[in-house]
Amino acid sequence: MLEKALSGSKLYWTWLIALLVVVGAGFGAYLVQYNKGLMITGMSRDVSWGFYIAQFTFLVGVAASAVMLVLPYYLHHYKTFGRITILGEFLAIASVIMCILFITVDLGKPSRILNVMIHPTPNSILFWDMIVLNGYLIINLVAGWVTLESERKNVPPPGWIKFVIYLSIPWAVSIHTVTAFLYAGLPGRGFWLTAIMAPRFLASAFAAGPAVLILLGYLVKKLTRFDAGREAFETLAKIVCYAIILHIFFFLLEVFTVAYSAIPSHTSHLQYLYFGLHGHSMLVPWVWTALACGLTAIVLLVNPRTRQNPTILPIACVLVFICTWIDKGMAMISGGFVPNPLHEITEYSPTGLELMITIGVYAAGMLVLTILYKVALGVKAEEEAV
């Protein structure tokens, strides 16, 4: 089936080559990091995780959100999602690959990465994160590929694939829950020490992932003849709507608990993010932008008139993306590390090289996504031509 990725329009090839160039640039930047160490990043003794781990956290969410298509389609036989479920699964594959790449570029000693498997350590959440991420990758590869293959051959998918697909539903929840546990169980990090971390992660994921999918759907519709169908878009938009409301609601719950209890080790982080602390306020404009985007998106998505409008919906989706990306891709990590355990403030911002590596990983993910989508859409087109 992969041969479908080998023939395409000029635009397709230009796009692939452009992505390859960006991946190459990112790889070049990574070689510098590999040589000099993580000193080339903006990370520090106090903020010891940065952009890489933040992007990883965000993308785990995008990966998990495939369940929002799989679940209605396979569990509730919601036929409308029939045409795009595969796009969700392939988005999940590309996202998990980016997650794994981000973890790898974040390591101080990447050559020793196998130590995680050679010395399995069940008391470390990172060990479980590795298991669930790799498991999810395999599940989606198998489920996506096998269903697509049988679709192409015009035969019903084999019976056992049902089991894999059902498995993917709790598994998707697990990847984001386990990722939340990476942070949520740490003593002395007040910002992360909250039981609502996993639900918050899931809510923002179920907003961000489907929003990305809607945008991809529009793009695919523009570039190919493939149309997921109006109803599919509308249902997805409703999912985004509920999820972003939950996301903001969970955030407000957090604000109440932290502010009303007024425990300094918990309040100081939110204070740093939203108002600045002791004159340090680098993230303040960002987090307010996120909040404004989230609230605007809610207004646009709740109202059926704007939600169903094909020009406004993509705008709302972009707003949702900005809101959730700033929330997880920037604020989540710095918010936990600033102030540090000695109540000192060291701010974090990524360096140019760090950004280049980040963009390189994103380009690699898009490359995978483009190829997978090319295959999937090729099969769909063939099928429709028959």
Binding site: S44, S48, G108, R112, S124, L126
Partner: protein, 275 residues
């Protein structure tokens, strides 16, 4: 090393209640087995031969034996000069590099009272204490979150409570840094060697990409000596066995009031401050 009857009964009861059974219970039942376990070299000992260069498995008969090591810092005795001497000794003998800026390496350093004891500071405390610079280092917690989160067991706890780092196993994920509630760990963002002013040849230097911290000078304990900082502190830093009621450390703890950093987190830090 004997376990007295009462202690044994208590520990056996607790471990049975916790369902530990297995090794822990067994070791308590047969104190001899603990000695046997003690004779086993830790991965760290295998990798880092002791100062005298004896890398063989038989332990040095001179070594200091303790069930649970701890450090006591007497803030009435700790002058800035003594603190400085302790810090310099540690840095020199462990080849701790002096890297400027926020990617620095710190094993033992000083910080003001409100930073070392955030949320517990008392505005009206004795100004001598309030304005003092406190020594801070790894607390060698009894229940160390850094060990809990490490995905490769590169951070581990020895039988005697010392929390160690295996520099050859560390993958540099920095989870332990997020896990430590005391900011006691440092990461080698770059090759530290050019930043070592004068290298001490008997202790290994580190590479880029691994985490490091205070080790309670296990290489010194192994040859029957006290940690460098304790030795250099002019009596202000007392090292000892917190499980031994007769140790100097325990006597001081009995006589004077002591505080620990963030005791509410349940990490059970083994660095005590006499105030």
């Amino acid at each position: 090393m004997g376990v007295d009857r009462r202690k044994f009964l208590k520990l056996a009861g607790v471990s049975a209640a916790l369902g530990l059974g297995g090794t822990a219970g067994f070791q308590l039942l047969k104190p001899g087995s603990l000695d046997a376990a003690e004779r086993m070299p830790t991965p760290y000992q295998m990798v880092f031969p002791s100062e005298q260069g004896n890398s063989d498995v038989t332990p040095n008969p001179e070594r200091l034996k303790g069930r649970r090591w701890g450090m006591l810092i007497d803030m009435r005795k700790l002058t800035p000069a003594k603190a400085q001497a302790a810090i310099e000794a540690c840095n020199y003998y462990h080849n701790v590099p002096k890297i400027p800026g926020k990617q620095e390496i710190k094993w033992i350093w000083t910080a003001p009272y409100p930073n070392v004891f955030p949320e517990t500071e008392n505005r009206w405390a004795d100004p001598d204490i309030k304005n003092a610079q406190f020594i801070t280092m790894c607390n060698h917690c009894n229940n160390p979150p850094c060990v809990r989160v490490c995905p490769t067991k590169a951070t581990f706890q020895r039988e005697d409570g010392v929390v160690m780092m295996d520099m050859h196993r560390c993958i540099g994920c920095r989870f332990c840094m997020a896990g430590c509630p005391y900011g006691s760990r440092s990461f080698n963002f770059r090759d530290p060697r050019p930043f070592i002013k004068k290298e001490y040849p008997l202790y290994p230097t580190r590479t880029k990409g691994v985490v490091e911290k205070c080790t309670f000078c296990t290489e010194r304990l192994a040859v029957g000596k006290l940690p460098y900082c304790s030795e250099a502190s002019g009596g202000a830093m007392v090292f000892g066995d917190v499980d031994d009621a007769g140790s100097e450390l325990r006597q001081l703890l009995r006589k004077r009031y002591s505080i620990r950093r963030k005791p509410n987190l349940g990490t059970d830090p083994q660095v005590y401050y006499l105030v």
